[in-house]
Amino acid sequence: MAARAERPPLSAVVAEGRVSSWLTTVDHKRIGILYILTSLVFFIAGGVLALLMRAQLATPGEHIVTRNSYNELFTMHGTTMIFLVVVPIWAGLGNYLVPLMIGARDMAFPRLNALSYWLFLLGGIILYSSWFAAGGAPRAGWTGYAPLSEAGYTPGHGMDLWILSLHVLTLSSLAGAINFLVTIHRLRAPGMSWMRMPLFVWSMEVYAALLVVALPALSAGLTMLLLDRQAGTHFFIPSQGGSALLYQHVFWFFGHPEVYIMILPAMGVVSEVIPVFSRKPIFGYTAIALSTVAIGFYSMLVWAHHMFTVGLPGYLQGFFMISSMIIAVPTGIKIFNWLATTWRGNLHFDTPMLFALGFIVIFTIGGLSGIFVAAYPFDWQAQDTYFVVAHLHYVLFGGSIFAVFAALHYWWPKIFGKMLSEPLGKVSFWLMFVGMNLTFFPMHMLGLLGMPRRIYTYHYGGAWEGYNLASTIGSGIMSLGILVFAWNVLRTHRAGARAVNDPWLADTLEWYTTSPPPPHNFDKVPYVTSPRPLRDLRRRLAESRA
C-alpha cells in the first residue's frame, strides 16, 4: 500500500470519472438529468408502441401486428407512458428544480434520492424484459383487471414481471415523494413562506403527498394479484370466493389520484411559464395555490367514476358524479387565472409560452370532455370507448406532455447551459399541436359511433374508417414534431448558443445562479420577500444604478 500512496483514493477517481461520476452521483441536479433523459428514452419507446397501434388501426382488417401483439402493445404503451414517462419526468424536473427554486443546496436525502432514480431505472428494465418472458409481454391492459390478469386467463411470466416492475417503481416513487415533502417543508430559503413559494413547488408538494397516499393501495392490489397468481390465494377469483370488483376499487383508489399526480405538476409549470412570458405576476397566486390543494384532496374521492358501468347502486353513482364535477371548479379557477395573467401583458411567444398556451387550449378540451364522462348516464355510453381514449389523451398528452415540453424548453438553458433553437422549437410545437388534435379529436367521434378501446381491428365501414385514418395520419405528424425536437436537442448540444443566467428575465430563484448551476447551487441565497425574488433583485439593482 505504501508504494501506491501517491495515487488518489478510489473514491476520488470514481467521483471524477466521466461515467462513474454519474453512476455514483448524489447531486440532485445530476439525478434530475438522469431521470429526465431516462424518461425521454422511455417516451420514445412508448411512442413507437403507439405508432404501431395506429398503423394497425389505420384501415379495417389490417394485419401489421397479431392479435396478441396488439394487446401487448397497448398494455406496454399505457404502463410505459404513465409509470416510466410522466410520473418520473416530473420527479426528474422536480428533482432538478425544487431545491433551486426554494434556494436549497440539495434534496433533503441525497442518497435516498439516488436510490429512487436507480429503482426507477431497474423498474423500467424489468418491465421491458417482459418482452422476452415465457408467454410474452403483459397483455391485460395497463389496468391489469382481474380475473383476466389471473394465471388461469393470462399465463406466462409477462404479468408477473409487470407486477414486479410496478412494485419496484412504487418503491422508487414513494422514496422520491417523501424526499420532496421533507425538502419542501424543511429546506426553504430564509423568508420563503408558503405563500412565497413558486407555484411549481406547490404542485410538487401536492404531487408528493398524493403519491404517499395513493401508492400503498396499488402495492396492496398488486401483492394480492401476485399471491393469486403464484401462491394459490383467490382474492380476485370469484369462482373460489374472491371478488373481481375489489381489484377495480383498489386499483382506481390509486389510479385516480395518479391522474392528478401526472397533471398537477403540469399545471405548476404553466403557472410558472405564463407570467414570465406575459411580463406580469401570476393572476390570483393564492387561488391557484389553494386550488392545487383542493384538486389533490378531491382526487381521492372520485375513483369510482372509472366504474360507472360495473353496476354500482344509483346513490353511489350520483355521489361520484358530483365529486368528479366538483374537481372541475378548482380546475376552472386555474384556467381563468392563467387567462387573466395574459391580460394587459407584454406577451412573448417563445417556445415555452407556445407550449403553455397550447396546454390551455388542449387541457380545456380535455377538462370539458371530463364533464361528459362524469355525468354517469352518458358515461354508460362512453366508458371503455374511444371517447375515453380521446379524453385521457387530451389530458395526459395535451396536458402533461405539452407541459413537459414547455418545461424542457423553458429550463433547458438552466439545466444544460445552452439555448435551444427557437425556430426549430416553434416548428416542433406546431407539428405536435396540429398532430395531437388530428390524432385524438376524431377519437371522440369514434367513441360515440361505438368503437370500444383495446380492439385490435374492426370491420366496420363508414365513418369508422375515415376517423381512424385521420387519427393515424395525425400520429405521424405528431411524431415529426417530436423528431424535430430531438434534432433541436442534438443541434443545441453540438452548436447551441451559451445561455446566460437568466435568459427569460424570470421571477424565481433558480435563475439567480449560473447556467448550469455549480454543484452547491448558490454561493449566497438572497432573503426572499415575495413570490418573485428575482424580479425584486432586478428592481433593487436598477434602483441602485439610477
Binding site: 406580469k280 387561488a287 358501468t309 387567462l339 411567444f349 352518458f378 425556430p423 367513441g447 370500444p452 378501446r453
Partner: protein, 329 residues
C-alpha cells in the same frame, strides 16, 4: 413565429377541419350518440346535448378570450424588459369564476338526476324480482342469451318492441361489458355479480354493439346484435327456439367455435378442426367444451345439456354427415 409558418399552419388546420367535417357528414357522423331506439338511449342523448351546449359555450368563451388576448397583448417588438400591468388578482373576479361553474355544474347534475329517474337502470334488483328476465351471459368470446322459457340464442338477442324487459347480465369467466349503443348504455358482466337493467325497445330493427370491456385475445371479435321484433313475432320466435335444436346449434357454432376455428372449421386463430375425430366423439367433445384444453377456454363451462346437445347435433350434421352415433338431432 415567422409569418410563413403561421400561414401554413392556418391553411393546414382549415384543410383538416374541412376533411373532418366531410368525413363526419359522409358517414353517420359520430357527433352524438347513435339515434336512440329506446327511452333509455334517448335520455342519455338528451344529457349529451345539454352538456355539449354548455361545454361548447365555455370552450368558445375560453379560447375566444385567449385568442383575443394573444392578439391584443402580443409584444409587437416591445422589449422583454418592459413589464405588463402588474395586477395580482381580483377577489370579486375569483368569486365569479368559482360561482359560475358551480351553477352550470349544478344545472348539469340536476338535469342528469331528472333524466336518470326515467332510465331506471342499473340498480341491483333482488334476484326474486329478476325472474322472467332474459339472462345475458358474457363468455370468452361470445354472448349467451337465455329466455324465460329456457330458449337460448348466441350473439343475437331478440327483444319484443314496446315491452319492458328485465335483462340480467353476468359473466362465466372474465369481465365483459354488454353494450348496444342504440338501446342503452353499457353494463358490465362481472363474474360473481349479477347486474340488472330494465329496457323497453321502441324501434324495430337490428342494432349492433360489441363487448366493451377488454376480455382477452379475441375481444375485438365479441360482437353482439339486438334484434327488436314486433311483440307477437318475438313470442312466437321464443317458443319456436325452445325446440329448434339445429337453429341453436348453428348459432352456437358460428358464435362460439367459428371465431377461432373458422366458419368452415378450416382454422384461424385456433386449429383446423373439420376433420378432427373429436367431432364424432360425444363424450370427448362435451369434455373439451366444459373444461377447455391448452389455449382453448372452457367455452361451455356452464351450458345446459340442451345447448351441448344442440351443438353436437349441428356439428354432426355439418361435419360428419351420415356417420352414426353421437348426435340425437
Amino acid at each position: 413565429m415567422p409569418p410563413p409558418v403561421r400561414r401554413s399552419a392556418f391553411v393546414l388546420s382549415v384543410t383538416l377541419a374541412l376533411v373532418l367535417t366531410g368525413t363526419a357528414a359522409a358517414g353517420n357522423g359520430g357527433l352524438a350518440p347513435p339515434s336512440p331506439a329506446s327511452p333509455n338511449a334517448a335520455s342519455i342523448r338528451d344529457i349529451y346535448w345539454l352538456i355539449l351546449a354548455i361545454t361548447g359555450a365555455i370552450f368558445v368563451i375560453v379560447t375566444g378570450t385567449l385568442l383575443l388576448f394573444i392578439f391584443r397583448y402580443r409584444s409587437k417588438g416591445r422589449p422583454r424588459e418592459l413589464e405588463g400591468s402588474q395586477v395580482r388578482g381580483h377577489t370579486k373576479l375569483e368569486l365569479a369564476w368559482t360561482a359560475g361553474p358551480v351553477i352550470l355544474l349544478a344545472i348539469i347534475a340536476g338535469f342528469v338526476f331528472w333524466k336518470v329517474s326515467d332510465i331506471g337502470a342499473t340498480s341491483s334488483l333482488p334476484d326474486s324480482q329478476a325472474k322472467g328476465a332474459i339472462t345475458i351471459e358474457g363468455h370468452q368470446y361470445y354472448w349467451n342469451f337465455t329466455y324465460p322459457n329456457g330458449a337460448i340464442s348466441v350473439d343475437t338477442l331478440r327483444m319484443p318492441a314496446g315491452r319492458a324487459m328485465k335483462l340480467t347480465i353476468r359473466s362465466a369467466d372474465v369481465n365483459h361489458s354488454w353494450w348496444i349503443p342504440a338501446l342503452a348504455g353499457k353494463l358490465d358482466a362481472i363474474p360473481g355479480k349479477l347486474n340488472h337493467m330494465t329496457l323497453r325497445a321502441t324501434k324495430l330493427g337490428t342494432f349492433a354493439g360489441q363487448c366493451a370491456e377488454f376480455c382477452g385475445v379475441l375481444h375485438a371479435a365479441m360482437l353482439a346484435h339486438a334484434q327488436v321484433l314486433p311483440a307477437a313475432d318475438y313470442d312466437s320466435w321464443v317458443s319456436r327456439r325452445a325446440n329448434d335444436k339445429l337453429g341453436l346449434g348453428k348459432e352456437t357454432f358460428v358464435g362460439v367455435c367459428a371465431k377461432c376455428h373458422g366458419l368452415a372449421a378450416q382454422g384461424g386463430y385456433g386449429p383446423n378442426i373439420a376433420q378432427n375425430p373429436l367431432l364424432g366423439d360425444r363424450k370427448g367433445l362435451t369434455n373439451i367444451i366444459r373444461h377447455g384444453t391448452g389455449k382453448m377456454p372452457a367455452v361451455g363451462n356452464d351450458w345446459s345439456q340442451a345447448q351441448i346437445d344442440a351443438m353436437i347435433a349441428y356439428l354432426h350434421k355439418r361435419f360428419a354427415q351420415g356417420a352414426s352415433g353421437g348426435g340425437q338431432g
